[in-house]
Every structure is written in C-alpha cells, then in structure tokens.
Symmetry: C2
Subunit: 203 residues, 2 copies
DNA sequence: ACGACTCTACTACAGCCGTAGTGCCACAGA
DNA sequence: TCTGTGGCACTACGGCTGTAGTAGAGTCGT
C-alpha cells in the first residue's frame, strides 16, 4: 500500500502495466500517460522511466521475456533424455496455460511481434528470446530421432504458436481447446514427424 | 492517367492503401490522412469515404477478405474428391505465396485479427470469413477419413497460420521455408492426423 | 433543360501524443 | 553537517488524429 514503489519493483509495475495495456487496447492504446494511469502512478512517471516510445516497448518486451522464461523454465520442461509422453505433456500444458491463465501475456507477445517487424531494435531482443526456446526444441526432437531437426523444430513452433494465435485472436476465439485436445493434436504432429514407428506407444 | 478515380475503383484504391499501411506501419500508422497521402488522393478523401476509424477498418477488412477469397478460390482448391497429394500441393502453394508474393496482405491480416480482439464488429466479419475456409478444410479432412474432423481442421489451420506468422513476424523471419519444405511438413502433419495407413503413398 | 442527389474537396476544432525541460526531495559519502 | 547525485513530480509544446461541417462539381432521371 505504500503509494511509493521504488527501484526495480517500480520498473516492473510499469512494464507489467504496459503489457496489460497492449493486450487490452492494442498498440494504439499503449501510451506513456495510459501507463501512468493504469499503474496508479503520478503523471510523467512512465515518460520519465522510458523517455521514448521505443524505450517503453523495449521495457515491456524485456519484462515479457522474463515472465515467459519463468513459465518455460528448464525445471518445468523435460530434458532431452525424457520420454515422448513427458515432452508432449509439458508442451501441451504450457500451451494450454498460455490460452487461459496467461492469455493477456500471449496477446501482448503477438502485438510486440508485429511491431518488431518494423523496429530492428525490438526484433533483436525478440529473436534472441525465440532462439533460446527453439534451440531447446531442436535438441528435443533430435533426441527423439528426428531426421531433420531444424525443420521439425520450425514445424513444432508453428503448430504451437498457430494454435495459440488462432484461439486468442483468430477464427477459434470462442472455444479454447481442452488440455487433452492440445495433447492429442500435438501427439499427432509428432507422430507424423517422427514416423509411425513410435506412433502409438503410450506410457 | 486520370488523377480521377471514381466509384468502386476509388473505394478499392483506398482500401488497398489502408492494407499496405497496416503491413508497413502497423495499426498506429493507419490514419485517414496517411491513406490520402499513400493513395495520392486529396486530403479528406478517406475521411469522407469512411467517416469513422471503425468504418475504415471494416473497409480494409472487407477488401482483404475479397482478395484472399480470390487467392483461395474454389477452382484453385481441390475438391473433397481429390487425392491427398493434390490437397497438400494446393495448400502448400497458397501458404508459400502468402509468405512471399502476398506477404503484405498476410501481415495486414494479423494486424486486423489482433484489432478484432477488441472490436466486436470486426470480429463478426473476421469469423465469417474464417468459417468459410475452415468449413472447406473440415470437408476435406472428412473426405480423407479423419476420425475427428473439427479438431483436425483446427490443427491444420493452426499449423498453416502458425507457419505464416512465425515466418512473417516471429522467430523465423530471416529464412522463409521453400515450397518443398512446406509441402513436406504439411504432409507429415496429415500423416500424423490420418494415421500411418496412407502415410507415404505418393503419386 | 432542370432539379435532386451523390460524391468530392477543403477546412475547422478539440483532444491526445511523444518528447523534453526544470526544480524538488531523499539519501550516500566525506 | 554539508554536498553531490540520482530518481521523481510536474509542466510545456509542437504536431498529429478522429471527426464533422459545408460548399461546389458532377451525374442521372425526367
């Protein structure tokens, strides 16, 4: 309740508010003044912390990467040594959470991804964060016997990201698939990629 | 040529310019005045044709649906009676074109999809257009022997849309996959969905 | 030929946006 | 205690945005 938030927590508050605004009002709704108001801080606070608009976007993106890294933390994700089922479960769970509990964060990410198309500074941060996740997936499919890890990792990312986008902003907004549906679909994709030899093993 | 464009062609010119602006400058770059300038029309033209911002967005969305409908026209897409290979080829080609020749249109679609999250009027138009495509896919996978056509159609849309987003605005911006890579990935997904019985048939 | 109607060009205005300048306060080091 | 240093609150301003009013030109039916 201290109206006074200091240091890092103040920065995080502003960044989180920016992410919420991105999700709720889009790129046009993110302004210095709107963040001040949304965060309950006096006018000028945001403008002071992030002097330019680009600085504000970078702040939000850094915070987004932090929070998603926590969600996808290594200890949450199975290592390359794990079985297929564990990988499927972990990925499906993370995806399902992004559609429900973390919906706002997911939306904000797409807003920033589109903006990064036009802002090289953002794109750099974005690619760095994405590469970490992609490399993890590449190692995973390699361990599973993929014959073309890079392409398979792309395929996997595309399916996961596309499912999230379709359910959050696309033609499937109404009904979010259940965790089981995500799991089954993901399993099918992996079966197709890895060949039918391990297709229906369950366990 | 005539600096004077009349009637429907004028409307289309304004809508197309709006789509280009969405792709190149994003939601914040789409303004009545920017469209005037981009289209080479006198100031006030866009403001007059689409009095409010929502009207301008609806105009752009209608035009987008028209142009995409032409790309995905029935005679371009194989009917339910076609073989698996024809379906894969047609979908892969349309997707690959969206990444190369129609990249701007694809980007504009994602901008509008995100905006539709917050504008019920846009969402209605959007869902109607999406439903037509989805229904076609549902019929297709049904004809192929899918055991769960709705979920498989969603899976297919997710993969296609996710691939496009990842390559146009995501972590794979740099290298667009070749037409063959799209085809192979799509084939793998279908194999997984439909079971391995028709997996590697070729021809 | 003429009047009604539509489309176009131009202008006005209130509000909001990004950015930057300035003085103030709290706290750390000497 | 004095002083400097960094963050904070507040204010200013030029520019752009969405929206709307109005008058004139062009078009069509009769």
């Amino acid at each position: 309740m201290s109206a006074r938030t200091t240091g890092a927590s103040r920065t995080d508050l502003i960044a989180d508010t920016a992410l919420v605004l991105l999700a709720e009002r889009g790129m046009r709704g993110l302004t210095h003044r709107a963040v001040d108001e949304g965060a309950g801080l006096p006018q000028g606070s945001t403008s002071n912390l992030a002097r330019t608009r680009l600085a504000l976007l970078e702040l939000a993106l850094r915070r987004l990467a932090d929070r998603e890294a926590r969600v996808l933390a290594p200890h949450e994700m199975p290592g390359p040594a794990s079985g297929l089922d564990q990988v499927v479960d972990a990925l499906a769970l993370a995806t399902h959470r992004a559609l429900t509990h973390n919906r706002a964060l997911t939306l904000a990410r797409y807003e920033l991804a589109l903006e990064a198309t036009r802002r090289p500074e953002l794109r750099r941060h974005f690619d760095a964060a994405g590469a970490r996740f992609r490399d993890r997936l590449t190692a995973l499919v390699t361990a599973m016997g993929s014959t073309d890890p890079d392409r398979h990792a792309l395929s996997l990312v595309a399916w996961l990201d596309g499912l999230m986008f379709s359910c959050v902003a696309g033609s499937f907004t109404a009904d979010v698939p259940s965790l089981d549906e995500v799991r089954i679909g993901l399993r099918e994709l992996l079966d197709g990629m890895l060949g039918s030899r391990r297709a229906t093993r369950n366990g």
